[in-house]
Symmetry: none
Subunit: 218 residues, 4 copies
DNA sequence: AATGAATGAGCATTCATTCAT
DNA sequence: AATGAATGAATGCTCATTCAT
């Protein structure tokens, strides 16, 4: 935050370089729409959100929305993508902070959990609303979860190579982790407790413990 | 009206035992509707399923459906409940076969996983469609998952007491388990692989391993 | 008219013969819709007619219309067909009154002309509105005109055989006749004059004269 | 605005002759639009043609179109007028080649028929699309047909005076001729056969024959 | 118990037109 | 002269629900 306060990228550097470095007015409006849509969709779900409401939220006419997005459906997808992009970036950044593969995986996981735990809206859209539509939509949720799973899996693979964890099916493990997060977050969303941050420690214990080398006798 | 005033031959068994042992015609129709609805909902999701379609499926008129169920919403809930009831029973039965608490929990979990893995329809409705509606509906999914979580948790609690597993937050553990199942099943639903039965072993390894006593050094 | 006053077909003879002789309630409503649609379409043209208006005209809800017709487009086609059917019947009946082939053709032609000349609504829909839409619709107009042309042509063919008229291309002749009617009626529709009935004599003279073998004295 | 205040080099020839001999840039663009519109309207009909499409066709923005034409409706009218003007000129030129009144009328008629027969686009717009709109538009078609009718009628009147043809109602006769052309062309448009050029001889035979005083030997 | 015709509120999408630049 | 983002009125169609029989 503070870092941003000094040098700033100028809003409309009209240069011969074209749009490479600039954010056009059109893009800004598009972004405002995305923001408003995110809010409305998170609050009311896809079906109960009206294009009119989103338009009102951005102080734009309904037609204005349709100038930027071909359909309500497409708009929803764009919202999901934007959220996922951000979350993936954060998760990757968190992973980059760590050195050991297992720690990287763990960091990514926790980053996602805690971030979802802080932003109900984000959580609602990513975890829940993705299902709210026909077949076409469900695929989107799967796609996005897949992206997260990839990150986790890649690190787990490294961890296996490094001998940090047992030689389990890392793809399944990655989905187990995500599934766990999903469930915890949803439960929080609907029952209000426990907050993801509170559940984090137990969750980490169970998940990590499930993979580490020390073969339990049982 | 007038036609009804005369005595008519009733085609359903009227016994003094009341409805305890008999299945009235009405109940049979209700059940047929439920079955048809289950199919349609599973295939097309709540919003894309039309009451007309369900009616057609049961060879009943739309009005006929409404004689048995007050609303489409209610019908959907009933379908979910019926499915959940059955699944819970199976899970409990599976648990009853085992003796050690951990084994009971594990058995219940696996039963659910494998059963979902065998019936896409069941899985789709329970795992996915529950979200497909407004706020009111989402709660249903949470409620049902809660029932499963309860069973798991109860057994895990016993397992803790028995010293079979570490003293973790069993509520969270239960949800981790369910979340894992959920994710694996959804992935299978959309990507077709791995089949739950195939993933079962890895899954079991990871989840059980995450709880058992043998403290790993890490 | 008067003929109808005595013996009448009963509205709902519920017999074992089923619907063969009866007009069901549904069919009556369908017919009322057709009538209202005919009026609205004739007055305002296809595009400027609203389904709402038609509904209002029949005192039915918009949904009611859609219960009977799958789309506005289909409704319009049905209106055209109904009108064409009637007109074709009349034309055939008129032809049947005559004995010589040429007289038959002539009678059919005149019947159509005069009937259109009496009912602006009929004329507007058949002659003009058929074009009011995309490709799909234009074909309808062509189809209907084709039906009329067939009748004329068939009789002209006979007339040729009978030596009543010259051996011209009867298909073209039939279309010339229809084109002439079309133009006269449209002109009347828009300029109000001359009324088809007034133009009939001149028209007949020109058209028949164009075909007969020798200078007819008539 | 400020930029415009300075004197600028004008790229269009400004002569004292005004616009009589020069075609301004603006007029050229206007013409290009007209050409593109003609194409689009002919292909898709008025309602299904979008201003956007026409704009794209001319490589102009939608706003650009509106700088030259006040409305889509007006643009369509202009297209019709342009086409009609050309066709009228040709018809008149063709008539001027002949000497006898009847031959003049006949020449004009044939010119129109054959020219329409060569250019589907022209035919579609003039014969069919004129109806494609509300009341206001239909009048245009009537107006244009009226112009053609006038030419025919004037010559027929002369022919009557000259004793070439019978003393029929020339207004009606003119419309009969046009109606015949109309129908033949439309039939060709939709059924592809016979081509106007092929039908011309039969058509001429029937129409002329319908007017001439005695059985023409021709 | 069931039918099926009818309701009516609901809504996404279209597109000609405008206007600041 | 031209752009293109934005407007906003317009409207066909859907579908859960009702209700007279």
């Amino acid at each position: 935050m503070t870092a941003w306060s000094k040098p700033r990228i100028i809003d409309r550097p009209v240069s011969r370089l074209g749009n490479i470095l600039t954010t056009t007015q059109k893009e800004k409006t598009r972004d405002r729409i995305l923001g408003a849509a995110e809010q409305v969709f998170a609050n009311k779900g896809y079906h109960e959100s009206l294009v009119d409401e989103i338009a009102e939220e951005v102080s734009l006419s309904k037609g204005g929305i349709y100038f930027h997005f071909p359909s309500k459906e497409d708009l929803f997808f764009s919202v999901m993508d934007r959220l996922a992009d951000r979350l993936v970036s954060k998760a990757e950044a968190a992973a980059a902070q760590e050195t050991s593969p297992l720690a990287k995986a763990e960091a990514a996981l926790m980053e996602v959990l805690l971030r979802l735990g802080k932003r109900r809206r984000l959580a609602r859209i990513l975890m829940v609303q993705g299902y709210s539509m026909g077949k076409a939509f469900e695929a989107k949720r799967v796609e996005i979860f897949g992206r997260f799973a990839e990150i986790i899996k890649a690190n787990l693979d490294e961890a296996v190579k490094a001998g940090e964890i047992r030689d389990v099916d890392t793809a399944i493990a990655a989905h187990v982790w995500l599934g766990a997060i999903n469930e915890i977050v949803i439960r929080w969303l609907y029952e209000g407790t426990p907050q993801p941050a509170e559940a984090a420690e137990s969750l980490r214990g169970i998940l990590i413990h499930g993979l580490v080398v020390e073969e339990p006798t049982r």
